[in-house]
């Protein structure tokens, strides 16, 4: 059997916060240029998983492998330099710095190769070139998301981790971001992991989805299969009532 070295391998990752087991034995892999969605009810551990992949949080058990190398002991900035970029659920821009400066920083510190011209190219790609001298804090939500994408792109990444990139956007903006993501994918071939709630948008960009529930993967496969899977249905519908059943301390 031909073993292709996957770009990203997550092997049996578990994580607890206090007494709370947030992730239990999560495993999956992603090849170069592949796009995968991670969905699940609130509290299923999606953002934690993303944090573990980017290095913001350390896992308790298991391993994360990127380009064949073990990375789970590396700090976020080293992973960034290796080519892992991410965005945040609530944007974390350098609000008092300009749009251009926001991009210059990862260009200088996170990516190989010279900066300068490249910054303007990236801003142009996400459609923010005109605003390069504006303070990042003055941007609209959709513009902020695009700037976060631009920053992550500045790392010249092989892997993009997107945390609810569609959250809070109106349908027009969602479509714009979708187009942007497709463009980025076709021009750079970057692999993507999208943690998402906005399933309609997600399913327009990926054919592969993982469903997390209470820290475990309960489904992996095509989006269509989700609606037919008993466990998935239970996870989503059950969750609506579960909030009132005194779960947790």
């Amino acid at each position: 059997m031909e073993e292709k070295v996957s770009l990203l391998v997550v092997e049996n990752v578990s994580k607890s916060f206090g007494g709370n087991r947030v992730l239990k034995g999560v495993s999956f892999s992603l090849g170069e240029g592949e796009i995968i969605g991670i969905v699940g009810p609130n509290g299923s551990g999606k953002t934690t998983l993303l944090n573990i992949l980017s290095g913001t949080v350390r896992q308790d058990e298991g391993g994360v492998f990127f380009k064949g190398k073990r990375v789970d002991h590396l700090s976020p900035h080293r992973r960034a330099k290796m080519g892992i970029g991410r965005t945040f659920q609530i944007t974390r821009l350098f609000t008092n710095l300009t749009v251009l400066e926001n991009v210059l920083i990862p260009l200088h510190y996170g990516s190989p190769g010279p900066s300068g011209k490249k910054a303007e190219e990236i801003l142009d790609m996400v459609g923010l070139l005109r605003m390069k001298d504006l303070k990042a804090g003055s941007l609209s939500l959709a513009q902020r998301k695009r700037l976060e994408l631009a920053r992550a792109l500045s790392l010249n990444p092989k892997l993009l981790l997107l945390d609810e990139v569609f959250a809070g956007l109106n349908p027009v903006s969602i479509r714009e971001i979708l187009d942007l993501l497709r463009r980025i994918h076709s021009e750079t071939g970057v692999a993507m992991v999208l943690v998402e709630h906005v399933l309609k948008a997600l399913f327009q960009i990926t054919r592969r989805v993982i469903v997390l529930s209470e820290g475990r993967i309960i489904y992996e496969g095509k989006p269509e299969g989700m609606a037919k899977n008993q466990e998935v249905i239970k996870a989503y519908l059950g969750e609506r009532y579960g909030a009132f059943r005194g779960k947790g301390p």
């Binding site: 290095g55 913001t56 821009l93 920083i105 510190y109 790392l155």
Partner: protein
């Protein structure tokens, strides 16, 4: 450097020509202002650009001063060498404690550094080598220029600190610091080695502060724990920053001069209630300055 900053730099350079026109008293006032300015400028690198308020950075002032004093008294080293030693010691201590201490958030970081400062003051008050509560007498400078030497020493230190701030303000190094200030978590995920840059920033601040302490010790020739590890000096430094503008190049310098002038006036006019008014002033300034330490150009 912006036009405004260039103007201020010009003013700073002009101060070098001022002494012939100053009385002894005024010379002392300007020297004190330059001391405060160099401290505020040093602090600006750590707070204004990196976003870490080191309430206890006077710890390094004390270390610089005491190290210089001990080296001069016990090893009979000449002042320049002793000053160098004091500065280096401050830097080394900063390098050592920055990684663990800078894992703390803003006000906890502030309080931890304050605890360190007070602890060093206590340590120095209990050790024989540092003269205990009695302090240390340094040899008196009897060389050319008299007190003018210290005027120019602090002037040079202020100039260096000013230029360092100007560099940080526009350089790529400065961008790393600003990124940390704006959002440390994001900065880390964008390739900035936050531990490294925080440590560098902290050490840079400590070096300048330590050097100021060394010069100060030689200037006033007698040091003791209370004067060298004085928390009131910490607060004065931050108030100077607040008044002048945190995170700007010229702000700390202007704020320091303004505060020193106010302080001197108070001390001169109302010696008895000086401390009282200072306290009141601090409260009022904090209430009036909008958005406190994050106000930027």
């Amino acid at each position: 450097m912006g036009k405004y900053d260039l103007l201020v730099l010009g003013g700073l350079l002009a101060l070098a020509l001022l002494p012939p026109f100053l009385t002894d008293y005024l010379e002392r006032v300007v020297t004190s202002a330059l001391l405060l300015a160099s401290l505020a400028l040093a602090q600006n690198v750590l707070l204004g650009y990196t976003g870490y308020p080191a309430f206890g950075s006077v710890a390094f002032f004390g270390i610089g001063g005491y190290a210089t004093a001990v080296l001069m008294r016990d090893l009979s080293l000449p002042f320049p060498v002793a000053l160098f030693g004091g500065t280096v010691l401050s830097g080394v201590l900063a390098l050592l404690i920055a990684p663990p201490v800078m894992r703390l958030r803003s006000h906890y970081f502030a309080i931890t550094t304050l605890a360190l400062q007070l602890a060093l003051g206590e340590l120095v008050a209990n050790l024989e080598i540092t003269g205990g509560a009695q302090g240390i007498n340094l040899p008196i400078y009897r060389g050319p220029g008299g007190y003018l030497l210290f005027y120019y020493l602090f002037w040079a230190l202020t100039l260096i600190s000013f230029l360092i701030n100007a560099y940080v303000d526009r350089s790529t190094f400065g961008y790393a610091l600003k990124a940390i200030r704006e959002d440390e978590v994001a900065a880390e995920t964008l390739g900035v080695n936050t531990v490294l840059f925080k440590t560098l920033s902290f050490t840079l601040t400590a070096l300048i502060t330590g050097c100021a302490g060394g010069i100060y010790a030689y200037w006033i020739t007698y040091i003791d724990p209370t004067s060298m590890f004085d928390p009131v000096l910490s607060v004065k430094m931050f108030v100077a920053l607040l008044v002048g503008g945190v995170g700007t190049v010229s702000g700390p310098l202007l704020g320091a001069f303004l505060l020193e002038v106010i302080s001197e006036t108070l001390w001169g006019q109302f010696p008895k209630v000086h401390g009282l008014i200072l306290g009141l002033l601090i409260v009022l300034i904090v209430l009036i300055i909008p958005r406190g330490i994050w106000r930027k150009r």
